[in-house]
């Protein structure tokens, strides 16, 4: 891979005394689908708007395609944006909206016409060109916004929570369409979202942000399988935590005393965020199993079912482990012939040391 399309280093942004971004370092690779994920107010939108040129960072540097963006206004940057509200010009038709940026570049009329037609077809809005834009549905507005930005062939397409205004069904459909579109055009997409599922299903890589800083940058699998902290683990999916104390380290392994599970020796690699400050062990609900009949597991522990949530294909159990106050969640697939346990029943919980993560 050649040089990253976007390079950020030491980016700070202050609004008065409030620090919206703090020492952000980030490289985004050419052609990838990259997501900025975090709770509202974490600075992800500020970061996106800094890349677009709508916010001026208080400190740090920003390079796009190897060019410093210092002092380059939004209309001179090789980026285009799909806004959360889509920002479709209400007084223009679909075609006029899509042609807007091309006209600003003063391209010949014939070229504008063919490119607009192509772009409208690309997002599946053939025949909508002459429609007035204010009568469009949410999904259609979003397609117009995409076409309007992509017709300019930007180096980077920035998407600010583009799916948040759509209902669940349409959102899922647009997720797969967006992914396909990104593969087809090969442009780098940078997506801002607060929806972890959306980020996991669509992205090549994800940056998780909290409080103006980037907590972790990783592929979806790594983010889910090897979160670097309890906070990240909790934000991406569900995770059970057990108190843990590091006893000693020796070469490639670490000895820990884990609540309920007892003393264990784990490989250093399972301390995904480094050993320093680790005080808990995390385990995903699906990594625990409730054993039935003669089933056995690498390790087993006795527990009592305290709550059962039936989801059709899955059952979520809250169980009490010995020596632990809060219950632990276990998800089980409802395969054929498997009976559902009731509240108060005893359960044998199977687990393995390799599925534990040592976290801070």
């Amino acid at each position: 891979m050649t040089q990253p399309i976007i390079q950020l280093s030491g980016l700070d942004k202050f609004y008065g005394n409030f620090q919206a971004l703090s020492q952000v370092d980030l490289d985004i690779k050419t052609g990838e689908f990259f997501s900025l994920l975090g709770p509202s107010g974490c600075g992800k939108t500020t970061l996106l708007r800094s890349i677009a040129g709508f916010e001026t960072p208080s400190a740090g540097s920003l390079y796009i395609d190897g060019q410093s963006m210092d002092g380059v206004p939004a209309n001179k940057r090789p980026t285009n944006m799909v806004f959360q509200s889509y920002a479709i010009f209400p007084h223009m038709s679909v075609a006029e909206n899509v042609a807007y940026g091309l006209k600003a570049r003063k391209l010949p009329k014939a070229e504008i016409k063919t490119r607009v037609t192509d772009a409208i077809a690309m997002v599946g809005l053939q025949g909508f060109g002459e429609r007035a834009s204010h009568g469009l549905s949410g999904g259609q507005r979003q397609r117009v916004a995409l076409a309007r930005a992509l017709v300019l062939k930007p180096r980077v397409l920035l998407l600010d929570e583009p799916l948040s205004a759509l209902d669940k069904k349409l959102r899922e459909q647009m997720q797969s369409e967006l992914r396909q579109l990104q593969r087809a055009v090969g442009i780098t997409f940078v997506l801002v979202t607060h929806d972890q599922e959306e980020a996991l299903t669509m992205s090549d890589r994800i940056a998780v942000m909290f409080d103006g800083t980037i907590a972790q940058v990783a592929t979806p699998q790594d983010l889910y399988g090897q979160p670097c902290s309890r906070r990240v683990a909790n934000f991406i999916g569900m995770m059970n935590f057990l108190d843990a104390k590091i006893l000693s380290t020796s070469g490639e392994t670490v000895d820990v005393d884990v609540q309920s599970f007892g003393k264990l020796t784990l490989p250093l690699g399972q301390a995904t965020g480094g050993l320093e400050g680790c005080d808990a062990v995390g385990v995903r609900p699906e990594m625990l199993t409730i054993l039935t009949g003669s089933q056995t597991a690498e390790r087993e522990i006795e527990a009592v079912v305290s709550e059962v949530f039936y989801y059709g294909d899955m059952t979520y159990y809250d169980v009490r482990l010995p020596f632990k106050e809060e219950s632990v969640t276990i998800t089980m697939r409802n395969t054929a012939g498997r009976s559902i346990l009731g509240v108060g029943e005893k359960a044998r919980v199977g687990w393995s040391a390799s599925s534990l993560l040592l976290l801070k």
């Binding site: 709508f54 209309n75 944006m81 209400p90 807007y100 204010h134 300019l152």
Partner: protein
């Protein structure tokens, strides 16, 4: 419940009669075939309208008023656009105080504005002219224009502007291609409101009129002569019809603007 509703409706009915009493009587007396403005009515005539056609002084006054109203509408809308845009889009030091100060003429008694402008003009040694009235009218119309234009600018989604900029347009072109077309209905409404206010304004005009009268100043002078009253009623009727037509046009543009930007129609005029 039912009875209470009835009381309410009765009240509203009586209130509307009270509110509309002068406006209804105006055309009634305008078409009344009697040189005394009082009941009982005598018969139907249009002669009072005919009288207006041959009145030279009236025509001069109308000409003056039209010139003042048009100039006032243009300038106060221009000032209004600048102020409304600044206050809705930008955060700047002392914004609230500055806006409060600019809106002040809305609550200041007009006599204060008339008196203070008169003092300045006399002290500076200028002559009273139609221009002194225009200045006073711009001062009192601008707040109304700002009120109308602010809502037009506020309804404007800021990301539209950013989108235009993001797509490669300059700020200047964005203003003309995106912002102005979307607030155009507000601008038209502002022009019409300022025009209507200026056309009808008497107190300031009375203080600042030199030798050339405006229409309300002319009317004021005629109110003393009972013989002139019926034709004044006819004049008032014409003005009323004109004002209402202008307002309907202004409201039409406001609604069209709302439809265009796809925002739900909730409020009324002003």
């Amino acid at each position: 419940m039912l009875r209470k509703g009835h009381i309410f409706k009765w009240y509203i009915g009586i209130f509307l009669v009270f509110l509309y009493a002068p406006a209804i009587l105006l055309p009634v007396f305008a078409f009344n075939d009697s040189s005394i403005v009082s009941f009982p009515l005598k018969g139907f005539t249009t002669k009072w309208f005919a009288v207006l056609q041959t009145n030279e002084t009236l025509h001069v006054a109308v000409g003056n008023s039209l010139m003042i109203a048009v100039t006032t509408a243009l300038f106060s809308t221009l000032f209004g656009v600048l102020a409304a845009r600044a206050s809705t889009r930008f955060v700047f030091p002392a914004r609230r105080s500055i806006m409060g100060f600019i809106m002040l003429p809305m609550v200041l008694p007009e006599i204060i504005i008339g008196v203070s402008l008169l003092v300045v003009i006399i002290q500076m040694g200028f002559e009273l002219s139609l221009w002194s009235i225009i200045l006073g009218h711009i001062l009192i119309c601008t707040p109304f224009c700002i009120a109308i234009l602010s809502s037009a600018f506020m309804n404007l989604d800021q990301s539209l502007e950013e989108a235009s900029f993001d797509l490669g347009q300059t700020r200047w072109n964005t203003f003309w291609l995106v912002i102005i077309p979307l607030v155009m209905p507000g601008i038209v409404a502002s022009l019409l409101i300022a025009f209507t206010i200026s056309l009808d304004e008497f107190i300031i005009a009375f203080f600042l009129a030199g030798t050339e009268p405006t229409l309300p100043v002319y009317i004021w002078g005629q109110l003393r002569f009972p013989a002139k009253l019926p034709s004044l009623m006819a004049l008032g009727t014409i003005l009323l019809v004109l004002s209402i037509s202008l307002l309907l046009v202004a409201d039409y543009f406001r609604r069209r603007g709302i439809r265009k930007t796809g925002i739900e129609n909730t409020g009324g005029f002003l």
